[in-house]
Symmetry: C2
Subunit: 339 residues, 2 copies
DNA sequence: TTGTAAGCGTTATCAT
DNA sequence: ATGATAACGCTTACAA
């Protein structure tokens, strides 16, 4: 099963290897007939171009590194899928690495990918900001990087982000308009940029409607269902249950809801819920979970687009794309008809 | 930002490139001091070995292709994670491609990966068997392939599979022992090997307990929550609701349960449910969903292991690993205390 | 339009 | 223990 090379084809047809190469690559400087002959015999012989050789001469790997926090909870799975689709169609392979919400792992991943000479990186940073300066240094040296999500609006680099502040404002306002009087925010990680922004939006809404500090709380949780459950267990013990929760994401919301339901609370009658970064599961639970939907595919695609721009035109300018979402109101947050 | 090469190092130290190469690769035939000197200056100069060049000379890509049906529903996400972990640690990159439950897409993926000269393939085939003969031909020509899941026990190739028949027998038997008298099976795709096997186990249990054909049904559904909902909607319209459902997977079960709950049925009191291929969401819904848990990580790891064996020792024998799981009984299927 | 030959950055085979 | 050199499969000046 030795691989056929352009040499084999050249020998068979009594042409030079350059002609064979040209037949595959050039549009013009080869005669149509020889070109056709070469291509057809190549096919006949079962020729497959050796990507390693090609990459070596062209000094590119045609690989893109994608670093995400995790791919188990749906959101980043969709990011992966969207980018695979976009980049594969353009001749690139995507190397996905997970950070498991761990900064050190993330840095390791990035370094592994750089050592593998990926042509560019898309990074959805994990909680913490220890690594950002390292990434920025690379970026400023001309390394093609696009940041996706979880990154500050004012980071001086190409990035694709969601308008967390506005949409968490809307989500909170929705709860307020449902006449919720006491609203807690399950807030993810205090060091996570999206958490910070969602807190900002939350506070903005409370301020607009003049909530005194007695009537809200911001509670750090993490991002997992398990963590939503733990926090809720704690609140139940303390008998400190408000009439609404706005959660940093759907998983935390689902965990928290589950715990409340198991303890006899009615949702939304006793406690209203709204999540964020809508997942498919939102529609499978009872009651269905209200949430903020993000345009995941579009955002991922945009990140790919910016990256390829940079790769193909190394002095393209930094670009920031900010996306908006939609508020999907479902049963978990609708109290009004009760009044 | 030109890359440092071994030539640069060689020139700087007045040694030959072969010495530099040796310093990085060989254990013995270089003097310790020169070796150390070379390594330290290399580090100083910021040398990164060019993987493309290395791969070209060694005629391997250090890439493994992984073809899965999808990665959105948790199960195959875990497969991806497990294999990434296992293979990355051993110097390989994993190229993941999704088939979207589409045979043609799957074949395309496999061909793309082969054209990219991955060193081996792990395939979790999608529904249908149109491509299997193509894969087998490659396999028989010595191409390293391991099949994971969704493949017949008697396929003459290396494979890692789950004992679907036994565990669907156990799941069904559990429902029977809960005194369920009429059990429907939501069965996935009729052309999917795991569906077939789970149907076999289902029937085996029914036979053991002498269910007449009036008291069970096997209904083709697909594998998505949405499809579980659709089928259930249909059954509700026909007023054809048994007292238990055994579902081909958790997603179908969740969709079906949701539809029933929304129509006023009590679970498990009116209808008991058990899923398969347990997902994390099983514990987040009310009532929690009973399911059969598969040792996903172990199975994926085993697939990686068999594949690397084959790659490193091309005349290693075909190997089949069959795994067992566990039956996790939760509230959705427990009726007995009601009697 | 085609061929020759150098080069991409390594490793591997010989000598020395 | 080290160096010279060919080779891996392809692209690309440059020459013809």
């Amino acid at each position: 099963m030795k691989h056929i090379t352009i040499k084999d084809i050249a020998k068979k047809l009594n042409v030079s290897t350059s002609s064979v190469s040209r037949a595959f690559n050039n549009k013009y400087d080869i005669k149509k007939e020889t070109r056709d002959l070469i291509l057809s015999t190549a096919k006949e012989m079962g020729y497959i171009p050796n990507p390693m050789a090609k990459k070596l001469t062209q000094n590119c790997s045609l690989n893109i590194g994608l670093v995400v926090p995790e791919i188990i909870n749906g959101y980043y799975s969709e990011v992966v899928i969207a980018l695979q689709k976009y980049l594969t169609k353009r001749g690139y392979q995507v190397l996905v690495m997970q950070s498991d919400e761990n900064e050190d792992q993330e840095l390791k991943n990035v370094k592994t990918l750089i050592n593998n000479m990926v042509d560019g990186l898309i990074i959805a940073p994990t909680v913490g900001n220890k690594n950002i300066s390292y990434y920025l240094e690379k970026y400023n040296n001309g390394y093609p990087i696009v940041f996706l999500n979880r990154i500050n609006d004012n980071l001086p680099a190409s990035k694709v982000i969601f308008n967390n502040i506005n949409w968490s404002f809307f989500a909170t306002e929705h709860l307020i308009l449902q006449k919720c009087k006491k609203i807690y925010h399950l807030a993810g990680y205090k060091d996570l940029s999206v958490s910070k922004e969602r807190i900002q939006g939350f506070k903005k809404a409370l301020k607009k409607y003049k909530f005194s500090s007695k009537y809200y709380k911001i509670i750090e949780t993490g991002l997992l269902a398990k963590e939503g459950m733990q926090v809720m267990e704690d609140l139940i013990l303390k008998n400190d249950i408000p009439d609404a929760f706005f959660c940093v994401n759907d998983m935390v919301a689902l965990g928290a809801m589950k715990k409340l339901k198991d303890n006899g609370y009615k949702i939304p009658e006793d406690v209203a819920f709204i999540g964020f970064t809508e997942t498919r599961i939102a529609k499978l639970v009872t009651p269905q979970l209200s949430s903020v939907k993000q345009p995941t595919f579009k955002m991922a695609k945009k990140a790919g687009e910016i990256l390829l721009n940079k790769i193909n035109n190394s002095n393209s300018k930094p670009e920031t794309a900010i996306f908006n979402g939609e508020l999907n109101i479902r049963k978990s947050s609708v109290k009004e008809f009760l009044n």
